[in-house]
Every structure is written in structure tokens, then in C-alpha cells.
């Protein structure tokens, strides 16, 4: 058997978490160990990216072990050009989450890092699982640490937010579980994703299982109108939780669409795509308008995520190459940019203990380096060409425009609104007169915080100026996805075909 790099990357954090759980190290050691573990996972993921062959369309670094053969369950891991990018994104953001929590998390330090590392393992598992049962296990495991993170280390209203997050997500994933079982029954008694991808499911199966999966994925994205857990979860979560939530967790839904919905249910995808496009447009515009009037910084960024993730689903369900690659790019970019924005809010919250925009104003004068990062990521977020946000958004809109010109035009309005809410927020936080004299003595970012922000800034500029390396990783896999949908000649399913009785 080849070197199991995927499993190694996935379980290193888990091993680290177990060690922390049983060896009662002191706080400083816990932080240092967590950093070391997350750095090791990061190094492995980079190694993997280095060895990834972008010309191959199939799964790479595949590992297979028998698990429960009588049930058709195997332990199967592997990545393609889509998931490999998210694995790297996950390991990067986890390192930064450890760094940003260095001084922000003061209670239950050990437990916090255990939760963070368990979550990293689960997230890496979701992106590399090639067996539906394995996938579902990782998918559900992921919920628990995040639930705890919000519920224990969160803000004042954390219990409500944690329960809301948990129930919303659980409601979705229960339906997915039913869908998985239906697939097993109709797909030749196997949970192997690669095998299921070869099956052409009958119209009613496609129709209903698509909807079951859609429930789980739509909640995760989150799409309008099941988005209302996100603002609460983000607002209450600790900084590291917000970073992981925005950077990785909400990407799972869109990843699920790409991995399962599109290639397995092409007819159902064609059937529902127009409605999903409409929901995406609502998310983009509605999300942006609601963002406009937020007064809480974290809530503002959370709502802006609803709008930005609308671009992701819009691109994916435009069902053409520019749209899909743009959607993936937008996911990566949103992870980088919004992750950074939450880091920034966390950094300033630690100093002032306020998330209200009105508690700031004019702080660019006292924290110039902070302001520079802030402006950079705001510009990236509003899609300034030359920074990474533009590449994804432009490709998505191009894809949408090719599919339907009206959709493209409407999506474009989101770009205007993004400039409005982001710049207006920036103005009220960084610029204008300093309304609170105590902000005069605000400390600028220190070296640790600088190191936390720098990688994302470099990525943001690099992927804006030269996005082709990232795009070329996904070409072959998206090619295959397109071919699969093309081969099935996606046909719209009528209601009478879908009715199973």
C-alpha cells in the first residue's frame, strides 16, 4: 500500500486532540502543541498539493480498507481537484485559528483546543471521504465541536445560537441520511462514491434524493431562506469558531452539490437548477440589502457571507464551466477573505469588547497597520480586480450570464451593493472622527497577529494577480463533472415522473 498521506493528514489533529485530552499539559504547552499539530497537518496538506497531478481527472491518493463488507461500507479516502483545495484551506485556517486564540481564549483552554483539532479532523475527513457512510460520519462529527465551541466559548446569547445552529443542521442532515440509504438500495448495495457515480439513477430516485441532499447542503451553505442560523452562530461564536465556520464549514454544502448532487442526479439538477438560481439571486440581493443596515460587525460580515455564498450556488447551478470553476474559486476566496475579516473583528473585539460599529470610528489613526489589513480584505471582498475576490465573482457572473442574461444582470447588482455596505462599514469603523476617546490608545496589531493575517493577505493578492495555478488544479475534475452531466444528457423530470406511487 502507498503512503497513506490523506489519512495521516486527517488524523494527526485527532491524535493531537486525544493526547491533549489525556495528558494534562499546562496551558502554554497546550497552545504550543496545538500549533505544532496544526502546522504538521498543514505541511502534509501542502506536500499533498505538491504531489497532486492536476492532469488526472480521477481521485488521487486513494486509500481503501475493508470496514463492514457485509453492509457495503468501506473505509475509502481520496481527493480530486476540487477537494484538494479545500483540504489546504482547512489546514491553513486551523493554524490561524490556533494563533488568533492564543490570547483570546482564556477559559477551558485545553478543551477548546481539543474541540478545534477534532473539528479539523472531521472537516478534512468530509473533504476526503469517498464512502457515503464515512462521509456522513465525518459530516455529523463536525457538528459537535462547533456546537460546543459556540455554546461554551461564545458570546452572551450563545446557547440560543448553538441550539439553533445544531437543530438547523441536524434537520438537514437527517434527510440526507435517508437519501444515503435510498442510494444504497438503488445503487447496487454499496456506499462507494466512485461506484455510485457510475450508476444512472431512475427519475424518481434522482428527484427525491436530490431534494433530501439539498436540504442538508442548503442549510450548510446557507441558502436563502434557511440562512438565519448563520448570523446568530457567527455573532456568538469565538473568533476561531467564526473563522472555521465561514472559511470551511459553510463550504461543505456547496462541496456536497459538486461531489454528489450534480454528477449523481443530473436530471434532477437540471430540473431544480432554475429554482436554485432564483434562490441564489435572492440570497445575493436580499443578503446584501440586509447587510447594509447591520450595526453589529460580526452580523454584518455574516450577512455578507449569505450574499457571497449566493454567488457560489449561482455559479454551480449555472451548470457551465465558467460558472462551476468560478463557484469553486469563490468558495476558496470567500474562505480566505471572510476568514480574515473575522480574524480582524476578533482582534479588535479583544481590545474593546464591542462588536458595535458605533463603538469605533477614526481608529485608522491609532491602529494604522490594522487598518491597512482591514482595507485590503474589504477591497478583496467587494471584488476589486487584482485581488482574489474578483476572479471568482467575475467567472460566476460570466457563467450565469451565459446561462440566462437576466440572471447575470441581476447578479451583477450584488457587486454594487457589496461596495456600498463594505465601504460604508469601513468608513464608520476606520475613518471619520474618532468619537470614542478611549480608542485613541488602542494598540496596533502585534507580531503574532501580524503573522496570523499575513498568509491570508499574501494569498489574496497572489490569487488575484495569478489565479491560474488554483484554476488549473480543478480543470480536469470539472471537465469530468461536465462530461458526466453531458453524458447523462440531463433531462428535466416532470412531476408525474417523479411521483413514486
Amino acid at each position: 500500500m502507498k503512503f497513506p498521506i490523506l489519512s495521516l493528514t486527517t488524523y494527526i489533529p485527532l491524535v493531537g486532540a486525544l493526547y491533549l485530552l489525556f495528558m494534562k499539559e499546562h496551558e502554554g504547552m497546550v497552545r504550543r502543541l496545538s500549533l505544532a499539530v496544526s502546522l504538521a497537518a498543514f505541511a502534509l496538506s501542502v506536500l499533498m498539493l505538491g504531489h497532486f497531478d492536476p492532469k488526472t481527472s480521477g481521485f488521487q491518493f486513494v486509500e481503501t480498507l475493508e470496514w463492514a463488507p457485509s453492509l457495503g461500507v468501506t473505509y475509502k479516502m481520496g481527493v480530486d481537484g476540487v477537494s484538494v483545495l479545500f483540504i489546504v484551506l482547512t489546514t491553513v485556517l486551523t493554524v490561524l485559528s490556533v494563533l488568533v486564540s492564543w490570547t483570546q481564549v482564556k477559559k477551558y483552554v485545553r478543551e477548546f483546543h481539543v474541540a478545534l483539532l477534532v473539528m479539523e479532523s472531521a472537516m478534512l475527513g468530509v473533504f476526503s471521504a469517498l464512502d457515503l457512510v464515512l462521509f456522513y460520519v465525518f459530516w455529523e462529527v463536525m457538528l459537535i465541536p462547533m456546537f460546543l465551541m459556540i455554546g461554551i466559548w461564545g458570546g452572551p446569547n450563545r446557547i440560543y445560537a448553538a441550539v439553533k445552529f445544531f437543530l438547523y443542521t441536524l434537520a438537514g442532515s437527517v434527510l440526507m441520511l435517508i437519501g444515503i440509504i435510498v442510494l444504497y438500495v438503488h445503487g447496487g448495495k454499496t456506499f462507494d462514491v466512485a461506484a455510485l457515480l457510475q450508476v444512472k439513477f431512475a427519475a424518481p430516485v434522482q428527484f427525491w434524493v436530490f431534494l433530501a441532499f439539498f436540504a442538508a447542503f442548503a442549510v450548510k451553505v446557507p441558502m436563502w431562506p434557511v440562512h438565519t442560523w448563520l448570523p446568530d452562530a457567527h455573532t456568538e461564536a469565538p473568533t476561531a469558531g467564526s473563522v472555521i465556520l465561514a472559511g470551511v464549514l459553510i463550504k461543505m454544502g456547496a462541496y456536497g452539490f459538486l461531489r454528489f448532487s450534480l454528477p449523481m442526479f443530473p436530471d434532477a439538477t437540471a430540473t431544480f437548477a432554475p429554482y436554485i438560481l432564483a434562490l441564489s439571486l435572492v440570497a445575493i440581493i436580499y443578503g446584501a440589502l440586509v447587510t447594509l443596515v447591520q450595526t453589529d460587525l460580526k452580523k454584518l460580515i455574516a450577512y455578507s457571507s449569505v450574499s457571497h455564498m449566493g454567488f457560489v450556488t449561482l455559479g454551480i447551478f449555472a451548470l457551465n464551466r465558467q460558472g462551476i470553476e468560478g463557484g469553486i474559486m469563490q468558495m476558496v476566496n470567500h474562505g480566505i477573505i471572510t476568514g480574515a475579516l473575522f480574524l480582524l473583528v476578533g482582534i479588535i473585539y479583544e481590545r474593546t469588547h464591542s462588536r458595535e460599529i458605533s463603538a469605533y470610528g477614526g481608529i485608522a489613526r491609532s491602529v494604522p497597520r490594522y487598518a491597512a489589513f482591514f482595507v485590503l480584505f474589504v477591497l478583496a471582498s467587494l471584488g476589486l480586480p487584482g485581488l482574489n475576490g474578483f476572479v471568482g465573482e467575475f467567472l460566476v457572473i460570466l457563467g450565469a450570464f451565459q446561462r440566462d442574461r437576466v440572471v447575470g444582470v441581476l447578479a451583477m447588482t450584488g457587486i454594487i451593493l457589496a461596495a456600498v455596505y463594505l465601504l460604508w462599514m469601513t468608513q464608520r469603523v476606520l475613518f471619520q472622527e474618532m468619537t470614542h476617546p478611549e480608542n485613541e490608545k488602542l494598540a496596533d496589531i502585534d507580531t503574532r497577529e501580524f503573522i496570523t493575517l499575513l498568509p491570508l493577505a499574501v494569498l489574496s493578492v497572489f490569487l488575484g494577480v495569478y489565479p491560474n495555478p488554483a484554476l488549473s488544479v480543478m480543470h480536469a475534475s470539472v471537465d469530468q463533472l461536465m462530461a458526466k452531466m453531458e453524458a447523462h444528457r440531463a433531462a428535466v423530470i416532470s412531476w408525474s415522473q417523479a411521483w413514486p406511487f
Binding site: 440586509v290 480586480p385 487584482g386 460570466l398 444582470v409 454594487i416 471619520q432 472622527e433
Partner: protein, 650 residues
Amino acid sequence: MTRSVVLFRDLLIPLLPLAAFLVNGLFGRWTREKAHWVSVPAVVLSFLLSLLVLKDVLSGVNTYASLYRWITVGAFDVSVGVMIDPLAAVMLIVVTSVSSLVHVYSIGYMHGDRGYARFFAYLSLFTFSMLMLVLSNNLLELFVFWEAVGLCSYLLIGHWYERRSAADAATKAFVVNRVGDFGFGLGLLLIFVTLGTLDYQAVFLGAKAASNQTVDLLAPFGGKLEVGLVTLIALLLFTGAMGKSAQLPLHVWLPDAMEGPTPVSALIHAATMVTAGVYMVARMHPVFEISPAAMATVAVVGGGTALFAATIGLVQNDIKRVVAYSTVSQLGTMFLACGIGAYGIAIFHLMTHAFFKGLLFLGAGSVIHALSGEQDIRKMGGLRNKIPATYLTFLIGSLSLAGVPLFAGFFSKDEILTRAFFAGDLGRVLWGVALLGALMTAFYAFRLVYLVFHGETRLLPDAAHRVHESPPVMTVPLWILAVLAVFSGWVGIPLIAGGDKIGHFLEPVFAGVAHAVHADIRLEGALIAVSVIVALLGIAIADMLYRTRPATPDKVAATWPRLYSLFLNKWWFDEIFDWAIVRPTRRISESFLWKVADVRIIDAFVNGVGSVTQQAAASWRRIQTGFTQDYAMTLVLGLLLVAAVWLAAW
């Protein structure tokens, strides 16, 4: 020199300012008050290299190169590259020369400013972006740097960000430009989707081939409204130009942009960035040429803006705002030229305007500097003898702006008017409009001169005492621009010194465009005479109102109070936008979408599901009493029920 060496030299022109930006941007804490030692040499070197490029282009050597593939997804394949042709060469010279002078001037003007290094960093970043904008070889690259110059404009307008008005103006500039870019972006999408490319040359060919295609705008809604595909493309692109070049009704950001430091106003908001729209239309002229409707729109918007902005310029009291409205008006004149197919002359006017308007802004800055920040012309007067260098150069700039013969502005503006006169019926109407605009221009230019420099001083005594001429680092750029504001027009004179040099130089770019109809030398002479008379008349009226009879202006204002108020309040554009767009959007978002749709409907439903479940569970819990007899009772009742149903069915 080999090709790669030439390319390297050409690339240095934008890259030097970029390097200066990186140094001052990243290490501003160390460069501090020495920041100009990084930025100024970089841009001056760029200027010198641009001269070499001009020499090459004059001898017929053009450059076209792709540097690297930027975004490649399927059929969508866009590179970053450079293209140097006569049009780009002219723009290179204009941008690097004005930028160099503004850089030098800023050493004096920004001396002692808290954000000195930041200022120079952004100035360099702007110069880089603007140079790349004119060097781009495809539309998406143009769009990238188009937004990049907008970003620099945003950052520099907000340089003194602690002032609420400056922060507001910066945000407004960016957002209004985004509205324009909404159109530009849609234009790009439509071009790619229909023509399959974004490369200039390929787009030109494709547009020609697609000249008969139409698009049904109302098809998605079941209606029918056919427009030419190329017309639609051209109009969408023009929307972007309207935003960047501040044309009606997207002009509202430019006057507010005067919140930025004055060197910024001179470089970005007069000489270079705001002319990018004109450059874009000229660059894309093969597309515009195909559509008479688009051309007419460009001409009408340009002519209309020229007159409209001039009316506002008549009555403003802030020295920079008067010059700003004048810029809006002059940009309108350039678009008018584009709209009648006189691209070469539009670019010629762009050049002379860059020099004389850059001069006027820097002069205004020198006045403000002398008065320690005062910008209200009602509080000036009599500065002529106190700041003579500023006065003389400002006077030269004003003469050029007013279109007095032998000054640069005269040649370019007069040529536009003449060409308009011969451009059909619409052209003749626009000629009249532009002539009226020219009259107002001459008037407000000299209103400014008289109010600021002539008459009795209206300064407070202690302010008057502190008035001082600016240092040479500021006045030398003024003098250089003054020289250019006179002589730069001479390269376009048709009759002397080897003929219309700039016209011939640009000819390869605008080949295939219909040339001026020089119908009758006597008629042309008469037209020139008319514009000269108009310019002098405007100056004479200003002289009468503000020098000989200073009480008259108030009487005039009192005679037409409505009109005066309309002009003074800029035709209420800001208020109308605020009332019709800004407020309703905010109100709907806040009190409906967020607080009703999200909170009262969606969340209420979610919480409702939760509490219904809880309540249901709470009431059903009572069934679990724990008493055996209760369970036995239920069991029996259940059995009876089943039996009853079974019996009934049987």
C-alpha cells in the same frame, strides 16, 4: 536593441512607480518625510522612458506583447499584456509628465502632513495603474486597471479621512463609479458571450461582423424591444465611461472628490483618471463607429454635460469646485468630439486640458496653501501682488481654458466646435450648446481670476498678513505647466509648422474614420471668429460684473432667484438621488427585509417549530403517568378501538 530589451524598457514605465509604491507602502514607517526620494525619481524616470517610447512610435515601431495568462477557464482565456500604439504613446506622455510635476509639487504642498509616505505611496500606485490602463491590450485588463485607478482615487480622496466630508466623498466616488462599472462589466460579458473574445483587435473584427445582429431586450418578459447588438455593447461600455469621466447623471462624485488634497485633484480628477472614459471611447471607436445611435448618445450626453456643468460653475464659491465643474464640462466637450467621430481632436483636447486644468488646480492649491487652507473665493481678493507667480500662471491657465487664441485650449476646443458645426443637424445643435457652454466657461474662468486675485482684499487682517508665495518646488511645476498650457496646442494647428502634427500622429489609430469636411475656408474662418468673440465676450462680462461693477452679481442673482438657486444647488442632483434611491433602499432593507422578513417571518417560523415541539412534548409527557392501571386502561381502550375498526371494515 532586441525585442525583449525594448519590452523590458517599456515595462519599466509602469513598474517603476509600482516599485515606488511597494517601498513606500510597506516601509513607509522608515521612509516617512523622505518618501518623495523614492516616488519622484521613479515617475520622472518613467517620463524619460516614455519619451524614448514616443520616439520609437514616431518612427513607426509599435509594441504588442502578452506577458502571462491571467484567467483561463475553458474558452475564457484572458492574458495580461501591453500594447503601445500612437494613442497609448500620447497617453503615456500626458500621464507621466503631469504625474511627475504633481509629484514634485506635492513635496511642497504635502510637507509636514501626517500621511506623507502614504500619500506618495498612493500617488505611485495611481501612476502605475493609470499607465497600465493605457497600456492594456484587452478589455478585461483595461477593466482591472480602470477599477484600480478608481481605488487610488478612493484612497486619495479619503487621504484626510478624519474629516467626515472626505470619508463620505471617498465612499461616494467609489460607489458611483461602481454604478458605471455595472454597465461596463455587463458590456464585457455581452462582448465575450456574443463575440467570444475580449482582445481589442478581435473585438473590433467581431463587432464589424456582428453589425447586423440585434438583441431583444424584453424577450425574457414576453415583450419585444429590439436593439442592435453593437449599439447595446457600445452603450454599456459608455455607461462605464460616464461614471469614470463624470458625465450626467453620474457626475455627482467628482465635485465632492475635491475633498482630497489638491495635487490629487490636479492629477486624478482633472488631468488623467477622469479622462480614462474618453480614452476608452477613443480606444473602442471601431465599436462605436458601427452604431450611429451610440455615437449620437455619446455626443448628446457630452454636449449636455458640457453645458449643464458650466451652469453650475457660474455660481459656485469654492475655488476648487468651480474648477471641478469646469472639468466635468470640458470632459463633456471631449465626449462631444468622440460622438461626432473626431477622436483625434478629443485626444488632443484631452492633452491640452490635462496641462491647463492641471495648472489651474495646482494654482488653486497654491492659493489655498498661501491662505492656510481657505477655499471660499468670497473671502479672497487682491492676491495679485502677494503671490505673483501663482497669479500669472493661473491667468495663463484661465486664458487657455477660456479659449483665447494662441493658448493651447483655444486650438483644441475650436477644432471640436468647428467639427461639430459640420456634423449634420444634431452636430449643429450641439455646436450651439457647446458654444453657450464656452461662453459660460470663459465667464467663470475670469470670475475666478477677478474674485481671487483682483480688487480689494476681503481677507481678515491677520490672514492677509500671513499670505505667502509658495516655495519653488511648487511654483516651478506651475511654470512648466504654464508653458505647456500655451505651447501644447501648437502641435495641433492645421495651418502652420508642418500641419496638424498630433492629428497625423494619431491617424493610424483612427484610420477609417471619416475626416473633417473642410467645406469652405471662409465659413471656417467665420466659425473661428465666432468662438473667439464668444471667449472674449465671456471674459468681458466677468470683467464688468466682478471688476468694474462689483455690486451687479448680487442684483443678477436677485433678479432670477429660482435659477440662481438651481445652479447654486447643483440642480438638486444629490438630494434627488438621496430621496429616490438611498433612503428607500435603506428603509426597505432595515424595516422590511431584516426586521420583518428575517426576524418576524423566517426566524419566527424556526423558533415556532422549536416551541411547538417543546409544548407538544410537554403535554404528551403527562400521558406517562407511571401508574399501571392507566397503562392497562389505555391498552384496553386501544384494543377496543382496533376491534371496532376491524369490525366496521368487515
